[in-house]
Assembly symmetry: C2
Homo-oligomer: 323 residues x 2
């Protein structure tokens, strides 16, 4: 109803409460059952739907995770996707999200509505209601989202990998980093690479299937395949052999970057695929595609990289957030 007023306006020009009302309205349109009292009070009130729940939070920050101007709709989708991916990595069922935005005064109101449309759209695709949040001014834009969800007594932890487990990964690795670098260089980017970076698909269904299939440990790829598998190894006090020739790279990334595509796969991060460790017999039951990229060992030396001849390759350091 306020569209006529809002079009062309900047955040600092409209009443904060008006914007909140507008965003609340959008969230209500998308929202499902199970929420007793959603947006519009001091807290959301929720009816419990399982004995256990999961909770996670993740934040995207301007000039760290994205650069403005950008497609705010896709940015909204990604901001929620990275959280849904964490729920997926536990085998949980996402239910509710709270969205906290830090916004600059000269932000176009329409851009924030787009951002929220993105958040709501991927929420709906994954059964996750947007139940509230917070708006504040900030000299640096950020989007901090918290998701809660249901889980059964079993969940996919990092610390239960067993010697002999296959190390597997969903989808492709290194595509997000390749896509990001091509985008920032202003090149024409193949859709599979730009999508991997801008609109990653959280593996929510796969995570839930892995719980039932007897998967031992799982994590999603945010820091990078090498570091994230390393987290499983150190939490489980195990090692892992990783077969570099088995990594599921995108042909488009190899064509553009050659050898460097492998580097992106190991250290690029942000793929939001699931790495999981599972006994070979249980892996055979899985209904979705995955790649076997290694094996859990009883070594305590973390992740060992092996070339196609089984020869060890020395690793390089993953990226750091505060660099």
């Amino acid at each position: 109803m306020h569209h006529a007023i809002i079009l062309g306006m900047k955040i600092r020009e409209i009443n904060e409460f008006e914007l909140i009302d507008k965003l609340n309205e959008m969230c209500r349109e998308y929202s499902g059952i199970g929420t007793v009292l959603a947006v519009g009070d001091d807290c959301a009130v929720l009816k419990s739907t399982s004995d256990y729940s999961v909770m996670t939070t993740d934040t995207l920050v301007e000039n760290v995770h994205y650069i403005l101007p950008c497609d705010r709709y896709l940015l909204g989708r990604k901001a929620l996707a990275v959280n849904l991916s964490d729920v997926a990595a536990m085998g949980g069922i996402p239910r509710h999200a709270l969205v906290s935005l830090g916004l600059k005064g000269d932000t176009e109101v329409e851009d924030i509505l787009s951002l929220y449309r993105g958040i709501c759209s991927i929420g709906r695709e994954n059964g996750c209601d947007i139940i509230g949040g917070n708006l504040t001014g900030s000299a640096t834009e950020f989007i901090s989202i918290t998701v809660s969800g249901d889980c059964s007594g079993r969940s996919l932890r990092r610390n239960e990998a067993q010697e002999g487990d296959l190390v597997c990964v969903t989808g492709h690795v290194g595509a997000a980093a390749a896509g990001m670098n091509m985008l920032f260089a202003g090149e024409d980017v193949p859709a599979v690479l730009s999508n991997a970076f801008q609109d990653p698909v959280p593996r929510v269904r796969e995570g839930q299937e892995l719980v039932k299939a007897g998967c031992h440990a799982a994590i999603d790829i945010s820091d990078g395949l090498f570091d994230d598998l390393g987290h499983i190894c150190s939490a489980s006090r195990k090692g892992a052999d990783m077969y570099l020739d088995r990594l599921p790279l995108r042909d488009e990334a190899v064509q553009r970057y050659g050898e460097k595509a492998l580097h992106y796969a190991l250290y690029g991060g942000e793929d939001y695929e699931l790495i999981f460790t599972i006994p070979e017999n249980d892996a055979k039951k899985l209904s979705f595609d995955y790649s076997v990229i290694g094996k859990i060992t009883d070594s305590h030396e973390g992740v060992i990289l092996l070339d196609k001849d089984g020869k060890e390759i020395k690793d390089q350091t993953g990226w750091r957030h505060f660099g």
Copy 2:
């Protein structure tokens, strides 16, 4: 154990995972029962302890809510307090918190440990475990916290104020704004005023008692008494008469600011006291101190300010976040 390494170091000089380990360790020391798997995996896993839950999120941003340098321990306490206050305003029982930090590279590691000590200390005072979070770089520092908690089927909403209810408030109003202005002016600040601004006490116990006492509606004072009572009025489709001579001002604020102390009480915000509406007979049962500052009416004109002779005073506009 890493103290010797960490002292004197800046965020950009230490490994992100090392800092996370250090913070996780601190959270575990403080944490209580009810958490199945806390910090250190993709999600926290929680055992449900009631049929309904509440969730809320709030963020403090550098140069909007605080100015650096400042006491990071108190800042941590306040960052969680504002969320606990939202849970209190619903009559909920806080249980779990997730902490998302955006940090500049030149931040002293010791300052972040202090911040976390502050968060953990007020968490423990209120039965709220810190179960996880997120660290990221950011050109502007921010602290975004999400709290979940238990609640009974009844909660203190904004939209159930009834005609004839007393409008009451806990503690004092305007003290936070007075304290903030004196601090920023570099004046000697009486402790009650600086504490009101820097270390507000969330009214968690009072909120839970209000649920049992038959309170109709409640909200905490973040935007300011006038605006926040206005939220109750518009959600409940009622009006309110507010008696300006009954507002519980701090003597110290009146001594310093005279008439302006009343302005701070109405529009200053950040007091984190509870405004509640309750039938007179139910109010008599309450075991804690409160002030009666008005009455809910059947008018639809929002909050009417009345002087000691019952004469209407025109209001002034509350502050805006994006200004």
